[in-house]
Symmetry: C2
């Protein structure tokens, strides 16, 4: 059972290892997005993404004996980096299972943190991590479907509520739902007036499909430029929290996500990975609409992007 | 005579038209730059650069009759944008004289603000602006050598001193010296413990040459990637202020400036134009050195850069 009390507990636990990231007002984006634009910059988090928060909170909940047998996870990259960093900080080992489709920059970043990388097909990654867990007695740190991970991500919500309490809405990228369930729980408690919106890739509409079905269902694995948002099925622990808290979940085409990335870079002067820009994509697509006077914070979830990927922006 | 009192006056005058820009702590850059890194983001200023502050302060000092005859200036781009924006805000016209070498993005930006653009050789730009002033009775707004312009740029110093009073040093890009003279005057008054460093392109070392000579001297016009820092001679009004206030002025090779731009983008997740990154270039070149515990703020002066210019970063 996920409770709001787990989030301030997580905040105290992980504080020595994570940054309170900046929340900025970006008037340069108001015209393009049709509202008063704010950004919460987890792209500037240590390891380059919010994922460190959840991974660190889970790792810090282990006994010394558990920790000594190492950590293992399956991850499209940023969570893997978070687990690798947590292992290094806490003096243990990490194995990171990554899909072949993960960008080279993310694979290299994990190896640079001293972790072992095992690559496989995207659909096999959880089975492979489970196999490594069983063989080595390591602790599996799930990317989203875990109460400690959800609570760790939720610490972003506490920061948002304190940094900009007068926001009207927060827009959050969605994959398995760890980020959205954690942040929405914190915001419902600390800032219940804020509208909470989730944005997922149209290629993998696992939340809109599951909300329509009333329970978690799987969608087909399809490619998306939002390579950090490739989960096929909502987390069982995340789904009921998201269903209760989210005002809107919308599906966003890659082209609009890329346009969001372009406007954030060219007008906002901020670099973020495509997945992080899906909320801005949702507005550019017309899937989310705000009034000009509404204060809307876009959660920029990570910044793991190679300069060569910026060529993609010439296409939109 | 430039006095520190002109700066809070400028702040009150321009406040309705300019943003207080963010000053961020960027731990991700500490390793590369060998100190505790902060950035003051004038790249996020309205019109994309600090230049709006000085131009707006000068324009707001005019009588209605003077204002009605229009504004004119010579500028490598960002100052022109500032003057064009000031003219539009105050309901008058602007003519902007720009060198042929100015990036297309800057020329287009000025035209988009409704100003008339006249292009010429970089060495002829001041004479051409003067000619237009005489012909039309317009007011010439100098890019740096003007007390109102210096005071407007100085408002950044007031913001820095308030936003992060415990800084050990501030590093400032230098061309004619308007920014450095204004900001250093504010900081000497509000935060006299801060070390003040200026960085200019090695191709146009007008300040190191002039400081050595004890008076403003001209250097040869040479190309530099720092296209906003192409002034050949310090401003007569700026020079004595810079000489009195600056602890160090260093000359930086373009390659190091580009490396600064690359580290700011890839590690810091912030896009800035090459000229803005010359302070980081100075540290990467070894021309400026700080101790690891020193808190150093790099003034990021503008963000006018086209995506096609990012290809330059592949070369360093």
């Amino acid at each position: 059972m996920f409770t709001v009390q787990m989030i301030p507990e997580a905040q105290r636990r992980i504080a020595p290892y994570v940054l309170e990231t900046p929340l900025l007002r970006l008037p340069a984006l108001d015209e393009a997005l049709g509202c008063r634009v704010y950004v919460k910059l987890e792209s500037m988090q240590t390891t380059g993404a919010f994922k460190l928060r959840g991974a660190m909170n889970r790792a810090l909940s282990l006994t010394p004996e558990e920790l000594s047998r190492g950590l293992v996870t399956a991850s499209s990259g940023n969570h893997g980096k978070g687990v690798a960093y947590a292992a290094r900080m806490l003096g243990t080992t990490a194995v990171i299972v990554m899909p072949w489709t993960a960008p080279a920059i993310k694979v290299e970043a994990v190896r640079a943190l001293g972790a072992e990388v095992v690559q496989c097909d995207v659909t096999e990654r959880f089975a492979r991590a489970e196999q490594i867990r069983a063989e080595r007695g390591a602790t599996l740190i799930p990317p989203y479907n875990d109460l400690f991970v959800m609570a760790g991500q939720g610490t972003i919500g506490l920061e948002i509520a304190r940094q900009q309490p007068d926001l009207d809405a927060v827009v959050i990228p969605v994959s398995g739902g760890g980020l959205l369930s954690g942040v929405s729980t914190a915001l419902r408690a600390e800032a219940p007036h804020m509208k909470i919106c989730g944005a997922e890739p149209a290629a993998l509409p696992r939340y809109t499909a599951s909300l329509a079905a009333g329970e978690p269902v799987s969608v087909e694995s399809k490619p998306t430029l939002a390579d950090a948002l490739v989960t096929q099925r909502p987390g069982d622990l995340c789904f009921p929290v998201v269903r209760q808290n989210a005002d809107r979940i919308v599906d966003v085409e890659d082209d609009f996500t890329l346009r969001g990335m372009k406007v954030l870079l060219t007008e906002g002067k901020l670099l973020a990975e495509p997945s992080s820009c899906i909320g801005m994509g949702a507005v550019l697509q017309g899937a989310l609409r705000f009034r000009p006077e509404e204060k809307v914070c876009f959660l920029i979830s990570g910044g793991s992007v190679g300069l060569e990927q910026l060529r993609l922006l010439d296409t939109v």
